[in-house]
């Protein structure tokens, strides 16, 4: 009698497929996007909005402040944002010039910033982004003092959530003429960026590096330090000791243009506990909100933004979500004034993906023209339409954020606090340091760091 085939829990089909793949090619899988597995997240928290103990603000009428000031402590010109949602660093090279420009225009329209990436600043990006954060990465590709002087803030990248402890990667098919020239690389090489900076080796030397950047910018703009979330309490304190005006902590859900899958899925801690630990570290130093905290890694909704702020962040950064707003993983291109949107599902299938599951940024064959250097593919992204989408998305996030904050009785979104939240799972309660819903139990409270 035929029996029902019995799959293995240890070796399900996807694992078997992956072993076959590795045994065919002889090296690790490289891909884009962030962690795909489920981890405890902001979804596991809910707000205790007003009823009788507290009064809400009028949801559609009363003013609420979303202004966010970054680097007010030391810089002559702090970065002032109209909303606490910024666009994370993504390079020209990883992204097409059109995608970078669309992000810049959208951010400018809502009064927030974009961030350069591993490969330098393009004139188009500087033009499109009214507020631009200039990254200083281990590779120093295209890093120039002239661009430093026109930046609105400088972000020293120690690491990122997708690959804390690892360097960036840009495969040869994306290292075209312009990208290669900007990075001083031969065209078509598989670029593997350094994991360590060439000129400092720890927080004691980073302090001198930050002073150097302050000298080169004459103390005008804030200096951020960005890192992947691993030993968060220590790392945040050391970043402050090294002189950071703003600390950026990127959780394990944070995305990338191309990195080893093993890095993406198996390093770092989720954004949820990272925010809490970072805020605690700043409170321990008595600099919470004086040194600002930006968190990133898997932020998708205004609810995520509100929860991150409540747990102690001053702002959030979005990367993958901004790309999705541009049109990443849509089945159709943007279309433009001359031609209607075109269905590109077949191009996803050719990559071994579908609209909705694609993470093939690393191939440079982005069906919707976002993570590519191919002129024909890039032409599929209409800058005007794509930037309108991102602008709409940023406005929607802000409305979701202010809706929740008003309902919690706040006239400033930065007045959200951990006590506005409870957790739906024991894991989230422990990680966020808020009570399990319906109880006063905070698992692990008082257990100390880390």
């Amino acid at each position: 009698m035929p029996r029902t085939p019995r799959p293995s829990a240890t070796f399900p089909a996807a694992v078997i497929e992956q072993i076959h793949e590795l045994s065919d090619v002889g090296h690790y899988e490289i891909r884009g996007w962030g962690a795909k597995r489920a981890v405890p997240s902001f979804d596991d928290l809910t707000f205790l909005t007003s009823s009788l103990t507290r009064y809400p603000l009028e949801g559609y009428r009363e003013a609420i402040d979303t202004t966010t000031v970054l680097g007010a402590g030391r810089a002559e010109r702090p970065l002032v944002l109209d909303v606490p949602i910024t666009i994370a660093g993504m390079s020209f090279g990883s992204l097409s010039a059109a995608a970078k420009e669309a992000l810049g225009r959208a951010a400018s329209a809502v009064g927030t910033s974009t961030t350069t990436g591993d490969g330098g600043m393009t004139p188009e990006e500087r033009q499109a982004s009214a507020k631009l954060v200039y990254q200083c990465l281990p590779s120093r590709y295209g890093f120039t003092p002239a661009d430093l002087r026109v930046a609105d803030a400088v972000e020293v990248v120690v690491g990122q959530g997708a690959k804390p402890g690892g360097g960036g990667m840009l495969l040869g098919q994306k290292v075209g003429e312009r990208v290669a020239a900007m990075r001083t690389l031969p065209e078509g090489v598989d670029q593997r960026s350094a994991s360590r900076h060439p000129d400092w080796t720890g927080p004691d030397d980073l302090r001198i590096k930050i002073d150097e950047l302050r000298e080169a910018t004459d103390g005008q703009v804030p200096i951020f330090v960005k890192m992947g979330a691993t030993r968060v309490p220590y790392d945040v304190k050391l970043a402050v000791a090294a002189g950071a005006d703003v600390v950026v902590v990127d959780g394990m859900q944070g995305g990338t243009g191309a990195t080893q899958d093993v890095f993406i899925e198996h390093t770092g801690i989720p954004t949820l506990p990272a925010v809490r630990q970072a805020a605690e570290a700043l409170r321990d130093l008595d600099v919470h909100h004086d040194v600002q905290l930006i968190v990133s890694g898997g932020i998708r909704s205004g609810a995520d933004v509100a929860k991150a702020l409540a747990l102690g962040a001053d702002a959030v950064s979005i990367g993958v979500a901004a790309l999705v707003a541009l049109g990443c993983n849509r089945s159709t291109t943007t279309g433009d004034d001359r031609s209607p949107p075109e269905d590109v599902t077949d191009d996803y299938l050719a990559l071994g993906a579908t609209p909705g599951t694609c993470h093939h940024c690393h191939t440079g064959r982005c069906p919707v023209g976002i993570t590519t250097q191919d002129p024909e593919l890039e032409a599929r992204l209409d800058v005007e339409r794509a930037s309108r989408r991102v602008e709409n998305y940023l406005r929607s996030l802000t409305m979701e954020l202010t809706t929740l904050a008003r309902a919690c009785g706040k006239s400033d979104v930065h007045n959200l606090e951990p006590e506005d939240l409870v957790a739906l799972t024991v894991e989230a309660a422990a990680m966020a340091g808020v009570p399990l819903a319906g109880t006063s139990w905070v698992p692990g409270a008082g257990a100390g760091l880390p």
Binding site: E21, S139, A146, T184, P198, D205, I208, E215, T217
Partner: protein, 232 residues
């Protein structure tokens, strides 16, 4: 504060903080000369200058001396700490004494000259600049150097030229060991001309350019395994 003696602006690091000194340097007119006295290992002197001025540092400077510079001429009559001429774009940084680690790191252009020895990671991540060291350099010289030239008048430490891209290294003395993907190539007449010109510009007269060892990339790390084509 700055005071003018003959035609040289004199700045005193024993009196002024680094920001004050660098602001004074940036305020100099094109073609002006300045002297920083009592440097005593101060970090970040003459950082980010971007106009044609000449700055003489009296004594020893700390980290990042003359870093992030364009068009300026920075000269130190003593030794310097780490990262002299780091990310230089053009102009020059000249050190009469010795230099610490990461000298000329990620310099995109310009010339960094060290008349003594230089430490580890000299010309690391070099992106088109030229670095000339009269004496010896430490380990990991020209690590990941992408473009430009490193000339070493003495010996080079272990791991020279690891993960080189298109930069070229010339060594007059012994090489302790080569790093991954670095190889020795035959000198061409063009190489000799490049080395002679660089040695002349640096003011070195002890280097026989025809007997230099030239190190370049074997280019075996440029691509992942070719068999894997587009699959990674």
């Amino acid at each position: 504060m700055a005071c003018v003696s003959t035609d040289v602006v004199v700045l005193d690091a024993a009196v002024d903080d680094t920001r004050t000194i660098n602001r004074a340097l940036r305020a100099l007119p094109d073609g002006a000369r300045a002297r920083i006295e009592h440097a005593r290992g101060r970090h970040n002197l003459a950082v980010g200058l971007h106009h044609p001025v000449t700055v003489d540092v009296v004594g020893n400077a700390g980290y990042y001396c003359g870093a992030l510079g364009e068009r300026a001429t920075v000269r130190v009559d003593g030794s310097v700490g780490w990262c002299a001429g780091e990310n230089l774009m053009s102009g020059s940084v000249t050190v009469r004494g010795h230099a610490g680690q990461s000298t000329g790191a990620s310099a995109h252009g310009g010339l960094v000259v060290v008349h003594g020895d230089a430490g580890a990671r000299t010309a690391i991540s070099l992106k088109g600049g030229r670095v000339a060291v009269a004496g010896s350099i430490g380990h990991a010289g020209a690590f990941m150097a992408q473009a430009g030239v490193l000339l070493v008048g003495g010996d080079a430490g272990d791991g020279l030229g690891d993960s080189l891209y298109e930069a070229t290294v010339f060594v007059a003395g012994r090489i302790a060991s080569l790093g991954a993907d670095a190889r020795v190539e035959d000198l061409t007449d063009d190489d000799v001309a490049v080395a002679v010109a660089l040695a002349d510009e640096a003011g070195f007269d002890h280097i026989d350019a025809t007997s230099l060892t030239k190190v370049t990339s074997a280019r075996s790390l440029y691509r992942f395994d070719a068999l894997a084509a587009q699959r990674y």
